[in-house]
């Protein structure tokens, strides 16, 4: 079933950013939400993680509505924000244990996976470190580990490559693909269209708070008379269009 966003309107107090947006993130699919700054990507993500209340429409994940069953909904998502968020007082190990406990996941059975993720991101010797000792890239890796260890039915990744070195970017793509193979839905936001085109199944283009296009990378390229490798130029086209409208 996956994530279903139906006629969603919403935004921040007094500022209705999203206007009747509808799209799905089916099980096992990777969907990338793209658009210019201010198009509504972050607002959409904030609605999906329960930070904003929809003014109209619905957000359902595997039949669970975020408004009527927020706890049940949140237990099915893992989120990697653009800026890492950590408790200053908790060590890396304590963060991971806390997340597992909050999701009611048994520590012992899941730790093998956690350990392999820690090794992958070279954090295995830093379980006792406080966030103050982490670089920005390491903090982002902590967010990645704590999200990927959950194997949640919906993984939301806000700008997945920000602050990561090339090796880590490659690992993240592999992990995202692995999650999709397990049947989980993946929603990412990105500005790197050409890079994302190599691993996403669908693009959802947001333009001024509305869904303008939903389709595969090749369909998006064809629609805009671009090649898949030159998809980044789409932003130039949208920017020009916005300037003409203005």
């Amino acid at each position: 079933m996956g994530l279903k966003i139906n006629n969603l309107s919403g935004g921040y107090a007094g500022n209705n950013v999203l206007k009747n947006i509808t799209f799905d993130v089916p099980d096992g699919k990777i969907v990338a939400l793209i658009g210019l700054n201010g198009a509504g990507k972050s607002t959409t993500v904030n609605h999906v993680i329960g930070e904003l209340q929809p003014q109209m429409g619905s957000i359902c994940l595997n039949g669970t509505n975020i408004v009527s069953e927020p706890t049940m909904f949140k237990s099915q998502i893992a989120y990697i924000p653009e800026q890492p968020i950590l408790y200053d007082e908790l060590t890396l190990g304590e963060h991971l244990h806390l997340m597992l406990a909050a999701h009611d996941i048994d520590n012992e059975t899941s730790w093998t996976r956690v350990a392999s993720l820690l090794t992958l991101f070279r954090l295995e010797n830093k379980l006792n470190w406080l966030p103050i000792h982490f670089s920005k890239g390491m903090r982002q890796k902590v967010m990645l580990v704590s999200a990927f260890m959950l194997n949640a039915p919906l993984l939301i990744v806000d700008e997945p490559f920000l602050g990561l070195d090339t090796l880590a970017q490659r690992d993240v793509i592999q992990l995202i693909q692995e999650q999709a193979r397990l049947g989980n839905s993946i929603l990412i936001t990105t500005h790197l269209l050409a890079s994302a085109a190599s691993f996403v199944d669908q693009f959802v283009v947001l333009y001024e708070g509305k869904v303008r296009f939903v389709g595969s990378p090749s369909e998006l390229a064809e629609e805009n008379q671009l090649s898949v490798n030159n998809l980044d130029e789409l932003f130039d086209l949208m920017q020009r269009e916005l300037a003409n409208e203005g």
Binding site: I49, G50, E51, T71, M72, F73, K74, S75, I77, Y79, P81, I85, L86, Y87, D88, E89, L90, E94, L98, M99, A101, A102, H103, L130, I132
Partner: protein, 428 residues
């Protein structure tokens, strides 16, 4: 902009900010606590001075040690106030001469005024003790005032001197700036020796000592004085200057945050390994939210020290006022329990502000219940400490039973109505 004009503009702005912080500090709870603390201190001090102890009690050398330590603590208070900001490195570049001659002259003037007020307060506190210990002590009091204030002036001038880049021949460098040896010599050894001499010498040598010290002060002042030649030949060491200003600002913020929650203060975390053993026992097999609250509290540098100070001072007051009536002791115990509960509340609001907390699939009701459980444990702890203090200082079964009954009622009231009400208010 002229250097001194810029300084006074910044000075006024800082005073406005400080007034804001003072408003936060002198909230109803803190004033109440301060009145009790001040009352207990005055009562205890008066009782000490009026009690007829044998003459040897007052002749003990320990009193000199106490007075010297107290005055040395006072000497630490009153930083050099420059109000430099990181951007000054860029925007005031090239104005070094004006900054050195005018901006820093205003800075040193205001710093010495503030520092002198603090020194006089600290000296004022020990004057009754000095008059009680020594037969003819006015000469000593005058000598202490002269020495402490002039010494503080020299320390401030020395601090200012560290903000300059000088030519080698103009620099007297004994130690690495801010090294341990420097601090030990100038902040402890030199003042301790002079204070010890003032406290032990008889009247005539004290006058000689004051005159000798005054000559030394004039020599030091001449060395640190900034004339036009010096202002032109020195340059600002902006790294040191900005670092010093930031440290000073941190000291002020730290002082305010000892008693009140100061907004936008950068948070410092202390691991406190010595607490880990208790922490892990306390949170073992406990729900996730309770673990989170306890861990954050154990490593927090604002709430935990604040509560610890409150409890320690509260227990000292209960211990000192051992002969006070039951109602007063019970009243103080209630205030301590209430203040501990009140000071714990920011832990809830701060935890809820974290996106991580809001993302966890834990119902809000559970997040609140776990916070109330933390309060309950803290309340039991404070209640037990109050009873132990009463039992140790002035054992009275009637007082203990009364205290137990009243505190139980207060704790139930706090948990059932006050804390849930405050949580609701925070969430709004």
């Amino acid at each position: 902009m002229k250097g001194n004009k810029l300084f006074w503009q910044r000075f006024r702005r800082t005073q406005r900010t400080n007034v804001k912080y003072f408003r936060l500090l002198f909230n109803d709870h803190f004033v109440l606590f301060l009145v009790i603390l001040f009352g207990a201190f005055v009562l205890g001090y008066r009782e000490l001075l009026n009690t007829s102890y044998p003459i040897m009690f007052w002749r003990s050398n320990w009193w000199q040690v106490v007075i010297i330590i107290w005055l040395l603590i006072g000497l630490h208070i009153g930083d050099l106030l420059t109000y430099f900001r990181p951007a000054d490195r860029l925007y005031l570049l090239g104005n070094d001469s004006d900054i050195i001659k005018k901006y820093l002259s205003s800075a040193i003037r205001i710093s010495i005024i503030y520092a002198s007020i603090w020194q006089l307060i600290f000296i004022g506190v020990v004057v009754p003790l000095l008059l009680r210990i020594y037969v003819s002590s006015m000469a000593r009091v005058v000598a202490i005032v002269v020495f402490i204030i002039t010494y503080k002036l020299i320390l401030l001038l020395y601090e200012r001197d560290k903000l300059f880049l000088k030519q080698r021949r103009q620099t007297i460098k004994v130690f690495e700036p801010n090294s341990m040896a420097e601090k030990l010599l100038f902040q402890i050894l030199v003042p301790s020796i002079f204070l010890e001499l003032i406290l032990t010498l008889t009247s005539s040598p004290i006058y000689i000592l004051v005159v000798a010290w005054s000559v030394l002060t004039v020599v030091a002042y001449r060395y640190f004085y900034i004339n036009r030649f010096k202002a032109n030949s020195f340059a600002m060491n902006w790294n040191s200057a900005i670092q010093q200003a930031q440290n000073q600002q941190q000291h002020v913020l730290h002082f305010f945050s000892m008693f009140a929650e100061i907004p936008n203060q950068p948070k410092i975390i202390k691991r406190r390994f010595y607490l880990d053993i208790f922490l892990y026992r306390l949170i073992k097999s406990k729900p996730a939210m309770l673990k989170l609250y306890w861990t954050r509290l154990a490593r927090d540098t604002e709430i935990l020290p604040l509560i610890t100070r409150l409890i320690i001072i509260g227990m000292i007051i209960i211990g000192v006022l051992k002969s006070a009536p039951d109602w007063l002791i019970i009243g103080i115990a209630i205030i301590i329990v209430y203040l501990v509960n009140f000071q714990l509340l920011p832990l809830f609001s701060d935890t809820q502000k974290k996106l991580w907390t809001r993302l966890m699939p834990i119902p809000n009701s559970n997040k609140q219940q776990m916070f109330i459980r933390l309060h309950r444990t803290m309340n039991y702890f404070v209640c037990t400490l109050c009873i132990i203090t009463v039992a140790v200082t002035n054992f009275s079964m009637q007082r203990i039973i009364l205290l137990l009954i009243v505190l139980s009622v207060v704790i139930i009231g706090l948990q059932k109505s006050y804390i849930p009400y405050m949580i609701k208010k925070i969430k709004k």
